[in-house]
Assembly symmetry: C2
DNA sequence: CCTACAAGTTAACCTTGGCTAAAATAGTGT
DNA sequence: ACACTATTTTAGCCAAGGTTAACTTGTAGG
């Protein structure tokens, strides 16, 4: 069931970027202080709380823009998930005030939902364009961006933006 | 509860890397075909199935290396989670054949667990070093890497490695 | 108009990953 | 040996995100 029977091979690689390991070859790198380490994991758990919501509102906004309406059938197809699952998640989105709809009708975003969609879309685009600028293939960049986007801080986003901009001016 | 009341501001930014939008200013960018889009989300769901396991075995390996033993108290402290939660997750890790221990004793990794820990550690290190090479601060890089690592494909990992290596030779 | 079929909802179930509170075990010091 | 403390486990709770199967509603054709 779990896809971890095969561990995809990661070419030749040592622990440090340049092979030599100049100073201390003892004790790899030490663990960060316990409380800081805990905050790292907490940040990840935090991101997990909102990522599905972000993907939903982003997708709903895209459907509204590109097809004129957001039907839960389309969401189910695009998310690769059953309609029942979409229905339940939409209930949650409504209870959070992100989405509005009348029963058996198609979906709309509230102001708050639109704001979240806009932020998510922008962040998603920055990550995707950055990966492409790095040289990642379109297909892979889309897959990686879909997951990475939820774990990229403001600081990193700005650096990615700058890299993409400069890289775009350099060669193309 | 949900931390999405405030939307962290992302500086001035338009949709395309260079501001001008040369050709089509109509219709942003189109949605990918439905089945491809579904595969993106499926890949993310897939990563979510293993990421906690990966973090656990990685942490257990680190504790074994740096402290000589892996006690569930330490794991709980480092993960920022209750001991009961650790106990339950460890049960799952054991049932998956990744961890072994006798009741009330500290933890060890099986062969399989060590293999997973080694892969995860390596991938984590590549992502962390890449972020630092990009110019992200240590603290932020650690936080982002903790989440991103689980969503970075082989292809992207190799590109990150190459970037880090070249960047390391360029200035430093 | 009414009937089929498509679309949406609900019910019942499952696993994961959190929690608290209480019970069991291990280890330590006197 | 025994009692106290720290550690680990268990039990019972919860929410999220998934499933299938059955039910309801909307809509388009004849
Ligand atoms: Mn997105
Ligand atoms: Mn996403
Ligand atoms: Mn890791
Ligand atoms: Mn991680």
């Amino acid at each position: 069931m779990l896809p971890y029977e095969h561990f995809g091979y990661i070419g030749p690689m040592t622990d440090s970027p340049n092979d030599v390991t100049p100073d201390r070859l003892c004790k790899a790198d030490a663990l960060p202080p316990s409380d800081q380490h805990a905050q790292q994991y907490a940040a990840v758990r935090n991101a997990h709380e909102t990522e599905l919501l972000e993907d939903y509102v982003e997708l709903i906004a895209d459907l509204l823009e590109h097809q004129g309406e957001a039907r839960s059938t389309d969401i189910a197809a695009r998310m690769g998930v059953s309609q029942a699952t979409v229905s339940k998640t939409v209930t949650r989105l409504k209870s959070l005030g992100l989405v509005s709809s009348k029963p058996y009708r198609s979906l709309f975003l509230t102001e708050k939902g639109e704001a979240m969609a806009a932020m998510s879309h922008q962040r998603h685009a920055i990550v995707l364009q950055f990966l492409r600028a790095l040289g990642v293939s379109d297909r892979t960049a889309r897959i990686d961006a879909e997951g990475m986007e939820h774990h990229v801080s403001q600081e990193t986003l700005e650096i990615m933006q700058r890299y993409t901009r400069e890289q775009g001016h350099r060669d193309v």
